[in-house]
Point group: C2
Chain length 167, copies 2
DNA sequence: CCGTTGCGCTTGAGTGTTCAACCATAAAGA
DNA sequence: TCTTTATGGTTGAACACTCAAGCGCAACGG
């Protein structure tokens, strides 16, 4: 346990700069959407993914995957979106456990109202700050990370750590 | 309003990969800390910044800045950390509005218990996934973003957008 | 000296997320 | 068929964060 692979100074700086950039960026993205469109970014993503689906309809589980939500989070979110009249849920006929989520016309309208401001924010805060080379590099890094984080087991160290209820 | 600078396909992909990588990464970082050290990452950062300060002590406002917290968030967090016995608050004698936050011995111990697992997680999930060139590129991008997001006014478009209470 | 303005920090309500437990249905095994 | 196990999805409690409002003190202005 004492052979921890600590971060060297460069790695420390990189990690902290990464953290800082992330917080600053997403804080502002979140605030812009909240102020101008009255929705958190997670909801925007849900609406966006639904809008791209055939018939603006997706199974809940699939929607959870594509919108980067946990199941529970999606359930709560869609409940809210349904109250707002932006999404409708119907049970699936062929598998009666399942549920379809459909983006309503009002939901699409809300998304289309929100989109310009959101996109402008992302562009001005992220893309305008970077050279084309940096954007390309960021894309590669992100791809590498997604790859790395998608394949492995849920937990890097199942055997000798992480026993939540033991202590 | 119809002259939105939309994202082209490449930019879309980059943005979504970036989002995905971020969620996957921070979800796991958060879960690891929660499971093994019983604290969210934000609390870890607070303890870490305090541990690096002279006398393990900082003014609340300064701690908020260095730990990337809003004032309110820090107040709530330190209240919790104080309950846990990891941080102590004392009022500042020279400016009786102010408050000092000090990392206790128990807090330092908790941090030192949490650190190896956390660092190993960051290394294995982030640095191990990237080549040295990619790490360098990530660092540059992060620096550029921090720079970009730190200097400007709080709101990129005061004049023609962002009227929260108008609608 | 007293009022105003500004700063440092806290508070409470509201909200989104997580976790664990749960329900209902489907699929697999005896 | 009857039981078991797995899957799709929901629920409620716990908790962290945000926002707006507020409190106490400091600094400035008359």
């Amino acid at each position: 346990m004492d052979h921890t692979r600590w971060l060297d100074d460069d790695e420390q700086r990189t990690w902290r700069a990464f953290l800082t950039a992330n917080r600053l960026l997403f804080e502002r993205v979140e605030r812009q959407l909240q102020n101008e469109a009255r929705m958190p970014h997670a909801y925007y993503e849900i609406l966006a993914r639904l809008s791209e689906a055939p018939d603006r309809t997706l199974r809940m589980s699939r929607l959870a995957d594509t919108s980067l939500s946990s199941r529970s989070r999606l359930s709560h979110a869609v409940a809210r979106l349904e109250e707002a009249g932006w999404v409708e849920r119907t049970t699936c006929e062929t598998d009666r456990r399942g549920a379809w989520a459909r983006l309503t016309d009002a939901g699409l309208a809300a998304l289309e109202r929100a989109a310009p401001g959101h996109v402008e924010t992302v562009r001005s805060l992220l893309f305008d700050a970077l050279t084309p080379q940096q954007v390309a590099a960021l894309g590669e890094v992100a791809d590498a990370l997604v790859d790395h984080l998608t394949d492995r087991p849920v937990w890097p160290a199942e055997s000798d750590a992480g026993c939540p209820e033991a202590g």
